[in-house]
Amino acid sequence: MKSPKRASGATTPKGGAKPKNGAGSNIAPLNDRERVQLFADMVQIREFEEQVHRSYLEGLVHGTTHLCQGQEAVSVGAAKALRDDDYVTYTYRGHGHCIARGMQMEPAFAELFGRATGVCGGLGGSMHLQDIDRGLIGSFGIVGAGLPVAGGAGVTAQMNGRGQVSMVFFGDGACNIGAFHEALNIAQVWKLPVLFVCENNLYGEFTRIEHTTPFEDLVKRARGYDMDAVMVDGNDVEAVYRAIAPAVARARDGGGPTFVECKTYRHRGHSRTDPAKYRPQEELEAWLKRDPIDLYRAKLAKSGVLSEKDAAKIVDKARDAAGAAAKRAAAAAWPDGNQNFTAKMFA
């Protein structure tokens, strides 16, 4: 059903300054080098997370942590569509988004280990990785809380008029909280350049989607705001990129927000203390067969872009890099208990 056209309100702030170098909507095909890089980026996230898991068992990661194995194609495919001056907002399951955006592993591990050399000086932790210089403006531990904030970064992008966009990652669980509604509504009314990237991994914490949500296809929610919405296989990195890149280009040209639903799956539980026994074995096995890295590795091998041998080398290199970064991070000092905490709160 087509939504009725909204009457244009005199007070609705649309558009803002026109981007000077508006991107076209033609998305250039990926070349072989770029495809190998997408593979390598996914592998690096996977190996980062596997190392986090090992470090957790060694007692180096404290409290809890939320791993993203299985969802790497979303982070990497989406990041590929962004420019350096774009803004990214994400969640407590955000290691992948940060690594995909270029956060260095050693300060990331150091943050997880609570060390002085952490990317946030040990004040944030696993759920709050930030790297302002890379446009990684916020990792939100409260479900859905990042969506309105991403809208604000979208206002900045709109006001700046340089064709920037604001991209926010969140899960299916966030689609049931009020902040989701308010953020999508504002973004659509103000035509903000915001990409709402929903990683629908079928579980909100420990509970499967049918127990919390009336339908599985969350694009339906976005369409209720008259917002453009696309659904994509979140375990196919190129498909994610191809779905998101045109939406990003449109947003850069003042075309407003898009909701992108990426169907994916968490290989592990919600958090480190969750063995995820609530998931049917056959469901888990079916999704493990659709591991985004395995799928892409096979695809690249089949098309002659990346040999098995070279793929194995990439994996080994990524594993070694993650291990070495974690080792250096673990050797770092604890934060100074006598530092000026007031200055950390107030500029």
Binding site: T11, Y87, C120, G138, I142, A145, P148, G152, E182
Partner: protein
């Protein structure tokens, strides 16, 4: 600099307008603040001057636009969010307490969060229990926020300007019963009032009365009544709840030896408890009597004028509290 008599409402409007002329990075958002000029007319004419991109009418969605303020502040803008009634601060509690207050800290001071949340609260206008709260103590225990309470047009003007220029989140709690009150304001682009520290508004030697917002005027009224009875009360406007600067209050109590705190909120968990606690810690030996607190009764503010007037601290009830200590 010209001194001009104006209302509290005009002072807010003047501060915002001047600051927005000075800095194009300032954007104001809120419900009905566009062509309508705001439900309390605190934004009258701003839409016409600055346009729809800088004076943004929002949906009725405090989480949405207060969260957006955080996103704008993190990316180079300096937003002002107007919360129509302070009572609605509860709607966006998470964005303020978990987001805005903690963002810079959790980032290891990578980010700065220059934003202002203005809210218009307070009782006495028969708005009932959901539209009459000051919200003063709701976020008192949240590190990372500055919380100020202007009690006069001059303070509303100068503190709001300071808040807008501050690189940190500032919660400006205004009072709707003060909106039409008049006072002299020293108008000028750089006329700023500090965001911290109490001010002695009426010197006295017999008792110290500390109050905020609309209770400041009532405390001054109480001091006038007491004066007629030969009791010389000192009245202090606390002005800023976070950070709370206790020094001048302690100094006053060392002189007067009596303390009465007046708050337009219930006693339990009020900022007055913090004032009393700190004064007792620092000036116990100077107190001639246990400190007294004049607050709202421990139930929601009732609608009926007969009941609301009885619930709010008055010059008479404040004066009575002072006399009870003597």
């Amino acid at each position: 600099m010209p001194v001009q008599e104006m209302t509290y409402r005009e002072a807010i409007l003047a501060a915002q307008t001047e600051e927005m002329r000075r800095d194009p990075k300032i954007i104001i958002m809120g419900e009905d603040i566009g062509p309508s000029g705001g439900p309390f007319k605190t934004c009258q004419g701003m839409y016409e001057e600055f346009g729809a991109l800088r004076v943004r009418d929002t949906p009725i969605a405090e989480t949405g636009f207060v969260g957006a303020a955080l996103g704008m502040a993190l990316t180079g803008y300096r937003p002002i969010a107007e919360i129509m009634f302070a009572d609605f601060l509860g709607v966006c509690f998470d964005q303020i307490v978990n987001g805005i207050a903690k963002h810079r800290f959790m980032s290891g001071a990578q980010s700065t969060v220059p934003l202002v949340i203005r809210s218009i609260g307070g009782g006495g206008l028969r708005f009932g229990a959901q539209h009459s709260q000051t919200g003063e103590s709701w976020m008192l225990s949240v590190p990372g926020l500055k919380i100020v309470c202007p009690s006069s047009p001059a303070e509303a003007y100068g503190m709001l300007k300071s808040a807008i220029r501050d690189d940190n989140p500032v919660l400006v709690l205004e009072h709707k019963a003060l909106l039409s009150s008049k006072g002299n304001v020293d108008i000028g682009m750089d006329h700023l009032e500090p965001l911290t520290g109490p001010k002695v508004l009426r010197p006295g030697k017999d008792a110290t009365i500390v109050a905020s917002l609309n209770m400041v005027g009532r405390a001054l009224g109480a001091a006038d009544k007491l004066s007629a009875e030969g009791i010389d009360a000192e009245v202090i406007d606390i002005r800023s709840l976070r950070p709370m600067v206790i020094g001048p209050i302690v100094e006053s109590v060392r002189k007067t030896n009596l303390l009465v705190v007046v708050e337009e909120q219930v006693q339990v968990g009020g900022w007055g408890a913090e004032v009393v606690s700190q004064v007792v810690s620092e000036a116990f030996d100077y107190l001639d009597a246990p400190p007294a607190r004049v607050t709202l009764p421990d139930y929601p503010l009732p609608y009926s004028p007969a009941l609301e007037d009885a619930a709010l601290p008055s010059p008479d009830s404040i004066a009575a509290a002072v006399k009870s200590l003597i």
